[in-house]
Symmetry: C2
Subunit: 426 residues, 2 copies
């Protein structure tokens, strides 16, 4: 498909580039032109779209989530953390079948598309179902390994790594384990060796709660970041999900080892984990990305909510209304996420890059007046402003309608069936 989108305001998110009036050309899965309006040849296009002055920018990257957990959305809220996890989440997860993960992931993909999210970094089980859901719906997914003491081996992960990195252009795979506190030292050492062998980054939940850090200090006399670093886990980079409770030494390690921090502010509030020191990280030049976390803990998969919170929570934490500029947050949600996920082809709008593009509708009351469009997206934007979501050159969502080849109603019915069956077994 050759698509031309003209009469657009464009935010390429390239460094130093501001908003400009122009057009974008797409050929199959790639962007072929981004720039000023030009007299594009007639008849050359499968489709020409008049953007009517609306904004094109790179799709948001959801850099940490557990998509298929949609089946547990609003199943167990307002409970103490331990009760939530051990009495509600784990027992239900034990009943999960591969098809539950498939439909649950599809439901999440719908929500991503409706909110301008064009890729997810997904840590969950039954990855075959997850990958199939994304391929079937045209969604881009980076799978993240998640082994721990309760499931998976380093050997299996190596196999998954080879398998999913040669699976489909929309699917890739990164090494990862669940967390230090759920994974014995032997496996952690195996993971570090695996990263070394392939010279690849390793990802994990890191320092999400005070308890987690205290436990690691007790076990190893080190914070999780320092301990894992001593195991040479991050010699080729990697990332930490959450990173709420980080010491200055931890942050220094992140900086030196180029470890991405993926922040999940809604989840950290809702599960009472805390507020990550994002301003400090930003000032140090640590790479930052944003995730929604899974729908059992957040509960919605909405990058607009997360973007607002990334800056607003720092303002209250630092008692400084100027902390963390909205434009830095927009970078985290797009370019930062792509960097953290290894999607270097999907980071900005430029010729040669993958066509993962969204259109923001400025003809919505919350986007008016046009004082500062980019800041408006962060402070006032909402899923209802997403007019179009394109992944790999395909328009999968436009004006409220999904074009993924599967009816939303079927997905809703299947996910309700899944959780209905599990509740009965409960």
């Amino acid at each position: 498909m050759k698509i031309r989108i003209y009469n657009a305001r464009i935010l390429t998110m390239e460094k130093g580039s501001g908003l400009f009036q122009g057009e974008i050309h797409i050929g199959d899965d790639r962007i072929t032109y981004v720039g000023e309006e030009k007299n594009a040849p007639k008849g050359e296009w499968d489709r020409e779209i008049d953007a009517e002055g609306n904004v094109l920018l790179p799709g948001f990257k959801n850099a940490h989530t557990h998509s298929a957990m949609t089946f547990l959305r609003s199943f167990a809220d307002d409970l103490p953390l331990q009760e939530w996890l051990y009495e509600r989440v784990f027992p239900m997860e034990a009943k999960l079948l591969p098809e539950d993960v498939y439909w649950g992931a599809l439901l999440a993909n719908l929500e991503y598309l409706s909110g301008g999210i064009t890729a997810n970094f997904d840590m969950y089980m039954k990855n075959e179902s997850n990958a199939k859901a994304s391929v079937d719906s045209g969604f881009r997914t980076v799978l993240c390994g998640s082994i721990n003491d309760f499931g998976g081996t380093v050997e299996e992960m190596e196999e998954e790594y080879r398998h999913f990195n040669d699976y489909h252009p929309l699917i890739s795979y990164q090494f990862g384990f669940h967390a230090e506190y759920t994974t014995k030292r032997e496996i952690l050492e195996g993971m570090a060796a695996l990263g070394q062998k392939y010279q690849k980054p390793v990802y994990t939940h890191n320092s999400e709660t005070e308890n987690e850090v205290a436990g690691c200090l007790e076990r190893y006399g080190r914070t999780p970041t320092a301990f894992l670093n001593e195991l040479h886990m991050f010699d080729y980079g990697g990332g930490g999900f959450h990173c709420v409770h980080m010491t200055d030494e931890d942050l220094q390690i992140c900086k030196e080892k180029e470890i991405w921090v993926v922040t999940n502010p809604s989840s950290n509030l809702k599960l009472a984990s805390g507020i990550a020191p994002i301003k400090k990280m930003l000032d140090m030049g640590i790479g930052l990305a944003i995730g929604t976390d899974g729908p059992a803990s957040n509960n919605c998969l909405d990058m607009f909510r997360e973007m607002f919170l990334v800056t607003a929570l720092q303002k209250v934490k630092e008692k400084d209304a100027s902390a963390v500029d909205a434009l830095d947050v927009l970078r985290m949600a797009t370019v930062g996420g792509a960097g953290a996920m290894g999607l270097t082809d999907c980071d900005v709008l430029a010729a040669g890059k993958k066509a993962d593009i969204i259109m923001i509708d400025l003809k919505q009351p919350n986007m008016q007046p046009l004082n500062h469009i980019a800041k408006n997206i962060v402070y006032s934007g909402s899923k209802s402003d997403v007019k179009m979501t394109m992944i790999d050159g395909r328009i999968l969502y436009e004006n409220g309608v999904y074009h993924i080849g599967i009816e939303p109603e079927e997905i809703y019915a299947k996910v309700n069936e899944s959780i209905g069956r599990m509740k009965k077994e409960h």
Copy 2:
């Protein structure tokens, strides 16, 4: 107009009532029936709406805002508070003409409608323009007095009170002043006397920032709440907007004098003011309502964002993931707001009440599966789930289309003209 909405899930928000399947009848501005499905007489209706299982509940009440400030949205973000207020906001407000307030308020009304907000408690200047904007668009507005040392007298407020309470069924007016720190004692005493004379509540910004409380302690040796209470300001109730920095004594006064607390969590984050002690207030039985604050400080007028934050911020503040149940938050956003604003006819869905009703679309990915619909609205809901907004029996917003008799495009153009003119004069 006689309207019947059937095949609905209904949340009346009456105490002790849960979600049930049923229908609602509307005759002109009032609800005439709420209950189980019944064989409604054919031909009796101007319109029959199949809700297709979607949820009807009372509209959200935005219990503190400055609607017309839409013209300053995204005009001055990421600045220290003093610079934001004194160098950016005040100089622009000095240029405001009555028509700027009219169009700015209309823009806010569009946003309210799109997000299921059916009434606002509005504290701003040029109330005639504000009231006209709401009457012209069919919106319900409770105006709040806002005199202070820089404008207005107690006598003028008394006149406004009589004028606007006899203006139009959609408009009412409550006594109010801007804040203790902007209003000299003489005016405050006049306000207290006015409340006494009419035996009516008085509303004000209260204890929004630490500085404000410190200033009052220095001036009067009392917190704002204690000082104003000593002036007999709240002998007939009233309300405080923000109430972030409250002592136990302050809360006790709120409890005893039935002073409503209207919390504005997004604004309190973005302006680095703090997190209000909502859990404590809730435990004490203090009346609670929710506001967005104005679009210059928030920047969006979205009750879904506020509802999520009311509970999520308490969870992190109290380090307890079970703090402030979502259902309590839904009450604050509907029944609580109506109580705070004196809209006792608009609080719940019941025969005889005003027909201020919204429909939430469950056929959206973020509302699925149907584990717990009411919690879903608070934790995962978004403006994009609002399928219909009815005020005073009139459907003003339905499936993304406004029916207010004024084109959104005209409103956008006018507000851009306003801020454009002011920037030129700047």
